[in-house]
């Protein structure tokens, strides 16, 4: 709030706590009437020093710490860390484990995208759709629990493999859940993509041009919705993705056009759910036999890791985009350095071009459209003529809902 208010514009600080964000982040908006003229972002309200904490632990302990970086990507972070460590220590992951890793990764993507669809619907006032999507997510969580023993923090990552196998007697349950998603997919497709009001709120809203996406290093569905073909699973590959048959999901696959708006980001995520179902089926069909970890004895594995010297990176396509972990091992118990880059790190800057020119009521849906991975609480302060007014979660949400209602008339 360094800038002075002028006669025509005023400032709107949003956050560090905001209803559309799952974790605290701070926006400073320059507003003219209802329109956003400029935006600035401040971060770090929940910096927990996890990378530093990692340098006090051994790599296997870090797996469980990495799992707690994010509640939704609780599989991607430890896996990306494991990939980096395996490359430093030259550990070959058994083929069966690579297939199992894909299945868990894609299941997490389904959970995340469906959760996001519900949040997006809620942001614009369609709470019945939120209930519908989260009911579907419940099925995905049930399957996660069935396969891993846990619903959210799965605890299945191991350096050199994975901790739980999927045996043939588990296939019927997997098929049943995937069948449920397929049956309901058309319904979701119809609600999100054909509904007139959804279109009015999401088309030409929060546009990110392809050029901006590339320049600002956007990743994941945010980049793909702007027509950037970027997906680590395909660009480079890891696990068993090199064996599987799939392609980049950009909005033109469905509509023949790319606009880079909120609507396109909905398309990309919905199509990715379908793609994930297909990938899981391919993995189950082609899964080779064999062990699921390179070294089952943890003490022996730790001894190997202690001898390892060097540096490596692990890249993974998380639901929100690329996760990259850098690890430097120097023959000590703990890594010398560990750097975690979550996708939102790169998807913060694209918010600025997306939000410029939008209305205040669009902030929740535009911010939510990148699926930011930051926690949620509820107040917004408006500074107008040096007076501070509080806009609470309900108020901001109501403004968004009112806009939807106005459009429906």
């Amino acid at each position: 709030m360094k800038r002075q208010s002028t006669k025509t514009t005023y400032q709107l600080p949003i956050g560090p706590i905001h209803p559309a964000l799952k974790e605290p982040v701070m926006f400073e908006f320059e507003i003219d009437g209802e329109k956003i003229i400029d935006a600035n972002v401040r971060l770090g309200h929940v910096h927990r020093g996890i990378e530093w904490a990692g340098t006090q632990r051994n790599p296997i302990q870090i797996l469980y710490l990495a799992e707690r970086i994010c509640g939704i990507c609780s599989y991607c972070h430890p896996m990306a860390f494991a990939l980096a460590v395996e490359r430093v220590a030259n550990i070959e992951v058994p083929e069966r484990a690579q297939y199992l890793r894909v299945i868990q990764g894609e299941l997490e993507r389904i959970c995340s995208h469906i959760l996001w669809a519900g949040v997006a619907a809620h942001e614009i006032g369609f709470d019945s759709v939120l209930y519908l999507t989260w009911q579907m997510r419940e099925e995905a969580l049930d399957l996660t629990e069935y396969l891993t023993g846990n619903r959210i923090t799965k605890g299945i990552t191991m350096i050199g493999g994975i901790r739980r196998d999927i045996t043939t007697d588990m296939h019927p349950k997997i098929k049943e859940t995937l069948g449920y998603f397929k049956d309901n997919f058309e319904k979701l497709h119809h609600i999100f993509l054909d509904d007139k009001t959804f279109k009015l709120r999401s088309q030409n809203c929060g546009v990110l041009a392809k050029e901006d996406a590339l320049k600002l290093c956007a990743v994941g569905p945010t980049a793909r919705a702007s027509g950037v073909k970027k997906d680590v699973r395909l660009d480079q590959g890891y696990f068993a993705y090199g064996d599987l048959d799939f392609d980049y999901v950009t909005p033109d696959v469905l509509t023949g056009e790319v606009h880079g708006d909120v609507y396109d980001r909905i398309i990309v995520r919905l199509l990715e759910v379908k793609q994930s179902i297909d990938l899981i089926e391919q993995c189950i069909q082609h899964m080779p036999e064999g062990p699921i970890v390179a070294e089952p004895k943890i003490a022996k594995l730790l001894a190997t890791l202690k001898k390892a010297n060097g540096e490596g990176i692990g890249r993974m396509e998380a639901p929100r985009g690329e996760v990259i972990h850098y690890v430097k091992l120097t023959g000590q118990d703990a890594p010398y350095h560990w750097k975690v880059r979550a996708p939102t790190y790169n998807n913060i800057l694209p918010w600025i071009p997306m939000l410029k020119g939008q209305q205040i009521a669009d902030i929740p849906i535009v911010a939510a459209s990148t699926d930011p991975c930051m926690s949620c609480t509820n107040r917004v302060a408006v500074v107008h003529k040096n007076e501070r007014h509080m806009l609470d979660k309900e108020m901001l949400h109501r403004m968004s809902v009112e806009k939807t209602r106005r459009l429906m008339k």
Partner: protein, 179 residues
């Protein structure tokens, strides 16, 4: 995305021809995936910090849309090493190559040029390196703190391992309150 893609070996040679002895070390790491053993490459290159920016710019000659992922960095005693993670040739299956540029900065004068004019998305990474490692990014458009709050003491850099590190500020809760 570029018309003609170079192989990893050609890329390393390209940089060696361009920067000669300023390329201090290079390593090509090849890995495979799945049953079909599709290959992918990570290139590691240690270069002189004085040519770092020029080298980053050269990357955009190889691929106009070079992607900058993040920069890592650590305290090596006398030096601070920064590792910039790039990738080129995305958009086609198994064609992408990761490039990791390492630059060593002496602690007495830890300065490196900004790359935000080439990669505008690099700003958060650069701000983070400044506050976590106490390096100076020359020409950074906004040198305010990004992750650390403004009331955090100056001259304490959380990723340093020397006397400017966070050691004095650590409270080990499991050891009980001493005061």
């Amino acid at each position: 995305m570029a018309e003609k893609q170079m192989t990893p070996e050609e890329i390393v040679q390209f940089f060696k021809d361009e920067f000669k002895e300023d390329i201090l070390d290079s390593r090509i790491e090849k890995r495979t995936q799945g049953i079909k053993k599709a290959e992918f490459t990570h290139i590691w290159m240690r270069l002189n910090s004085t040519v770092f920016k020029k080298a980053a710019k050269k990357l955009t000659k190889l691929d106009q849309y070079t992607h900058f992922a993040v920069a890592s960095g650590y305290d090596m005693g006398d030096n601070i090493d920064l590792v910039y993670h790039f990738s080129i040739y995305h958009g086609a299956r198994h064609k992408e190559i990761s490039l990791n540029f390492i630059a060593s900065l002496p602690k007495s004068n830890p300065v490196i040029d900004t790359i935000t004019d080439i990669f505008p998305g690099a700003i958060i990474s650069e701000q983070e390196k400044q506050e976590m490692l106490g390096v100076k990014i020359k020409g950074i458009p906004n040198d305010s703190r990004v992750f650390i709050s403004d009331d955090f003491p100056k001259n304490v850099y959380p990723w340093r391992r020397d006397e400017t590190g966070p050691q004095k500020m650590i409270r080990n809760l499991h050891k009980g309150a001493k005061k």
